[in-house]
């Protein structure tokens, strides 16, 4: 069993003040999804509008955590626009995104660099 964790904000030079990267790992289930939600809400209240969740080390994500991510998209929409991007290469976790339809409202990137490049490109439009 992989232990759940959320790392502190990752600072990226020149990423912009509205870009926040949160690194999450382990198994994200009903026990820990409230922690995930609280950390994301704190970031949004702190001004994050372009949120990148690096889930590279996540091996399991349940329906309650999927609900947190879907709720994050809604919250960003309600707060004047924004975007949630996810970094994930775990085949089964991506399958869960597809079954729940979450992949239709978030962008899934293969690397943090790809996610940052997409955020930068969106900021220039």
């Amino acid at each position: 069993m992989r232990t759940f964790y959320i790392a502190d904000d990752v600072h990226v030079e020149d990423a912009g003040p509205e870009v926040t990267i949160l690194v999450v790992g382990g198994e994200v289930d009903f026990e820990v999804s409230p922690q995930l939600k609280a950390r994301i809400m704190r970031a949004i209240k702190g001004g994050a509008r372009r949120l990148i969740l690096d889930l590279s080390d996540v091996t399991f994500i349940d329906s309650t955590a999927i609900g947190v991510l879907a709720g994050t998209v809604e919250r960003l929409d309600e707060s004047g626009g924004g975007a949630l991007s996810v970094v994930c290469t775990h085949e089964k976790v991506i399958q869960i995104f597809e079954i729940t339809g979450l992949d239709s409202v978030i962008t899934v990137h293969a690397s943090r660099e790809d996610a940052l490049a997409a955020v930068a490109a969106a900021g220039q439009r």
Partner: protein, 149 residues
């Protein structure tokens, strides 16, 4: 005896835990150990464990009134399938399933269970709710086809 079919079971096991979120990892480990011993491949094992986690989560969320309530689990291994059952004392409320628009997420667990195992059976009686999940063992023919490419 298998409670589902009435036929002799190859093997059966039970696990009883408190209705607490912290027991979810225990439930997943239980399901994983039995599924691996049964011989499910890696993908099928993940899917079985995932569906078990959703069923137990549902039992903890809706089937218990206090953390001191118990959640009762069992797994029966037959020749061709593995069947998990979880029983709680709550009344099942059928959620609406309409995708990610329902941010509250009520229907997602059931939709995921239905997608990841071969059979989901819901039995509701005055004493509580039982959810059964069955995953078939890939047939020898399917295994041969998979190996052939």
């Amino acid at each position: 005896m298998n409670p589902r079919t009435g036929s002799p079971a190859a093997s059966a096991s039970e696990l009883h835990v408190l209705a607490r979120r912290s027991e979810l990892g225990v439930a997943r480990k239980y399901a994983e150990d039995v599924a691996e011993a049964f011989g499910l491949d890696q993908d099928s094992c993940y899917e079985f464990v995932y569906a078990v986690n959703e069923a137990v989560t549902n039992a903890i969320r809706h089937g218990a009134s206090a953390e001191e309530d118990m959640i009762h689990m069992s797994i029966v291994a037959e020749a061709d399938r593995l069947t998990f059952a979880v029983r709680d004392r709550g009344t099942f409320v059928m959620p609406e399933v309409d995708g990610v628009e329902t941010a509250a997420g009520g229907g997602r667990g059931l939709a995921l269970m239905a997608s990841l195992v071969d059979e989901v059976d819901l039995h509701i009686d005055p004493g509580g709710t039982t959810v059964r999940l069955s995953k078939a063992r890939p047939s020898a023919l399917e295994t041969a086809q998979a190996q052939a490419g």
